[in-house]
Structure formats: C-alpha cells, structure tokens
C-alpha cells in the first residue's frame, strides 16, 4: 500500500515534466523525493485501515487521538519520559509521541482499544482490575501496551524483568506494587490460556 503511494507521488511529480523530452542515452532522472509539508498516509489501527492526509510534524500520538478519534492513548509529558502514549507499532511497544504519523505510513498499530472491550477484558486488563494495578487510570493504557508486548516476548518473567519494563512508564497513584502484582498474575493467566 505504501509502495503504491510512493510510486504514485513520484509519477505525479516527475514524469509529466520529462514526458516531452525522452533521452534514452541520458542518466535516469533523479528521483530523490522533494521534502514535503503534508503527506497522505495509510495505517492500520486495531485491524482497520485508515488513509489520511497529515501535516508531517504531527506526532503519531496526536494522529491517533485527533485524526482517528481513539482517545485511549494518553499524552502525559509529550517528550518520551512518562510512557502514557505507548502503543504497538508492528507489534513493538514504542512511544507514539516520539514518532511522526508520516513515519507510520504502512504500519500496523495497536492501541489500548484493540486489547479488549468493557464486556470482554483482555486477561492483562482483568489482572490490573483484580490487583489494584490502577487508580486514576491515566497511565494505564501505556502500561498495558508496554506489558502486553513484554509478556509476548517474556511469557514467564521474573519480578526484576517486570520492574525493568515498567521503568519506562510513570504512575503517580499506585506505588507500582499493584502493577507488578498484576503483570505477574497476567503472565500466569496468559500462560494458562496458551
């Protein structure tokens, strides 16, 4: 999908100008794309494909919230410290405030809305509920996305590993102990399910 867009953009930009002067012996025309201020991107968010024109300075976090309308991804610090905006980009946990939407062209994104529904919580979400892994809930989407990727790679984590991955997310309510308990228990539940 991304390749089509890129090739199309090139066609629109270059070929029409050169169409009248075909010189087969000459070097192929320079195709280095000119830097742009806006771009049309296609991303798949929680299984749904979206094509949108965006300003290139718009972060992926703002794009997800404002252009796609999924406000479960929260913005705390907006410079990569707090981790509230963590999402999955092609399966990997990343800070969506440290990426531009234009960079996600062609990517597959999962946000907290893609984890579970209020009726059918993800086992990780159930564990957070059961262990008081959240209080105000602001940081929770980012923590869930960080840990869902982590548990996929590390199905039987030690407490130290859990604490290490949680070091990338700030929580000002819980004191973290409930979160550690929740992640430990979620690992157990997910192992049982697999």
């Amino acid at each position: 999908m991304k390749k089509l867009t890129a090739a199309g953009a090139r066609l629109r930009r270059g070929r029409t100008v050169r169409a009248g002067t075909p010189r087969r012996d000459a070097k192929p025309p320079r195709r280095t794309a000119r830097p742009v201020e806006r771009r049309t991107i296609t991303v798949t968010v929680n299984g749904t494909a979206y094509a949108r024109a965006v300003e290139v300075r718009k972060t992926l976090a703002d794009f997800i919230r404002e252009d796609i309308g999924l406000t479960g991804t929260h913005l705390g610090c907006e410079h990569g410290v707090c981790g509230a905006c963590t999402i999955l980009l092609n399966g990997q946990a990343v800070r969506s405030c440290l990426l531009f939407a234009a960079q996600a062209d062609g990517a597959e994104i999962t946000t907290v809305e893609g984890l579970g529904t209020p009726e059918h919580l993800h086992p990780l979400q159930e564990a957070f509920r059961d262990h008081h892994g959240l209080q105000c809930g602001f940081c929770t989407p980012g923590i869930l996305m960080s840990t869902v990727a982590f548990l996929r790679e590390t199905p039987a984590p030690t407490d130290e590993q859990i604490r290490e991955v949680l070091s990338g997310n700030l929580c000002r309510c819980t004191g973290y102990q409930g979160i550690v308990d929740a992640v430990r228990d979620a690992a157990r539940r997910l192992r049982g399910r697999a």
Partner: protein, 288 residues
C-alpha cells in the same frame, strides 16, 4: 502539534539520503530513531527546515560478523541487544545497551543515532571510545572513517559535516578481553550521572592493556590514561584497582548540575572505575 513546521523526506535508499543531506544538510536535521531528536523538536529547541528520515533505508540495518563487527547506523538498539553476534563478540556493547532508556525507547533508538547525537551522558559514545572503535561517515564526496577522539568534539557536536551521514559503526570483537559497563542514574533508564566502560587485556596477573572511558563527566567520552597506566603497572589486584579509582576521582573534572554535584560525580566515577575494573578482570579469566 508541538514541533515548529518543517519539510519532511523519507528516502528509501542511501543514495537518495545523501542527495537530500547534500541539498538540505545545513538547514536540516537527520532523523534516526528520534528518541532524542523528537523531544528537541517538540520543545522547539531544534527547528530544522528539513527533516531527513532514515528509517526507510533498509540497507543501513545490519550486523556483520568478523574480527571487526560492522553495525549499520539504523540498527535498532533493541536489535543489537538481542543479537547473538553482539552477545558473543561484543559483550561490552551488550552490557551497555541495556542502560539506554527503556525497552520501549530501545525499540526505536538506533546505534548510529545515539553516537551521532553525541550526548555527553550517553552510553554508546563511551563504548566506542573504550573499544577504540570507529564510525564511517559518508557523503556524496566520499567516505571517511574516524576514531572516537576525532569524532566527538564537544557537547552534542561531532566532526560530521552537514552533508555527511554516519552510516556504520565498527567495533572490534572483544570476546577475548575482559570488559564491564557500569552506570549510576537516578532511576533505571535515566540519563547516566556517571557511567564507565572498561576494557582489560589480561595476561595472568598482569594487564597488558587497559582502557577506561567515562560518560556523564565531561563534554565528550573521557579517558583517564593515568589510571589506565596505574593498572598496567600495578597488575591485576584490588590494590591497583583502588589506586586507579583514586586517580580517576582526582583527575576528572565534571560539571555540577541539578542532578548531581561535580564532587559527587567525581566520587562515583572513582567507585565505579574500581568496581568495573574488578568485574572486567574477573571476566577476562582468573582470580582478581
């Protein structure tokens, strides 16, 4: 939208990227993993007119084995961390990379980006200096290879010309050497208050060659050659390591900031040097 407006290009080939930095380098910025640059853009501390994004260039993402391991500049830190080649041949890098930010940061952050950014408290510049590795810079004018001491000029400033890209990092395989990386930060994943990379070439109770490179204590990775010499002269012993630590604490000239005073940093540097020397000697084989 927090960053000031800019123009954006995401070339898919190195050739195109070199053309773009050739055209726009002086008024532009190169975007690698973005884990340092995007915050600077969002805070408008950096306001480039053009952003050249290297993330689509697959040819800059590789780890090539050999006596010298060659790492493509756009190799993610997380990829290096989990690479069997890095774990086996570059134990110092494998150890240091885990101190960089958090896993979520290392999923995006790149080996080349961290070195090109030249943050004075970053881990990888110290690793490059301790291992006497090199960086390969490329422009449309050609390629050149620089050592750490020629590459890092001062805070966030390197010898790279505006039309150059850092394309590769080369580190010598050092599975036969004893190495250690230690760091003290306020929280795990925070910027280092002080960090040290140690390399020891051990021959029984003697140290044939020792290198100590510090991060967080100056504008560029800091070596303390007098301390290195003390270990070569004194041999592998707790006493010579303690002496090296004392020299380090006496010779380094870090700055004070809101995170730590200069005096504290000097003290911690000495303690870390001693501990890292002991760990490196142990890993090089034999009692220490």
């Amino acid at each position: 939208m927090k960053p000031a407006p800019f123009l954006y290009a995401a070339p898919e080939t190195l050739d195109d990227a070199l053309t773009l930095v050739h055209r726009h380098g002086t008024e532009g910025k190169v975007l690698a993993g973005g884990q340092s640059l995007v915050p600077l853009l969002s805070m408008r501390l950096a306001r480039p007119r053009v952003l050249v994004d290297l993330n689509r260039i697959k040819a800059l993402d590789y780890i090539r084995n050999g006596r010298e391991i060659r790492i493509g500049a756009m190799t993610r830190q997380r990829t290096a961390e989990t690479s069997p080649v890095v774990r086996e041949k570059l134990p110092l890098l494998a150890e240091a990379v885990r101190y960089i930010g958090h896993p979520q940061i290392r999923n995006r952050g790149t080996i080349g980006g961290s070195i090109a950014h030249a943050d004075p408290s970053a881990e990888l510049p110290a690793v490059l200096a301790a291992l006497d590795g090199t960086v390969v810079l490329q422009s449309r004018r050609g390629r050149r290879t620089l050592r750490a001491d020629a590459f890092f000029l001062t805070y966030l400033t390197t010898a790279m010309a505006p039309d150059e890209l850092l394309v590769e990092v080369r580190l010598p395989a050092h599975d036969h050497l004893g190495t250690a990386f230690l760091e003290v930060a306020r929280r795990h994943g925070d910027y280092a208050l002080v960090g040290v990379a140690v390399v020891i070439e051990r021959d029984g109770d003697r140290a044939r060659r020792v290198r100590l490179a510090f991060t967080g204590v100056g504008a560029t990775p800091a070596r303390v050659e007098e301390a290195e010499a003390a270990v070569v002269e004194g041999g592998i012993s707790d006493r010579s390591f303690a002496e090296a630590g004392r020299i380090v604490a006496a010779r380094l000239t870090p700055d004070s900031d809101i995170h730590a005073s200069a005096e504290y940093r000097r003290h911690v540097a000495g303690v870390l040097a001693e501990r890292a020397l002991r760990a490196a000697a142990r890993r090089a084989g034999g009692p220490a």
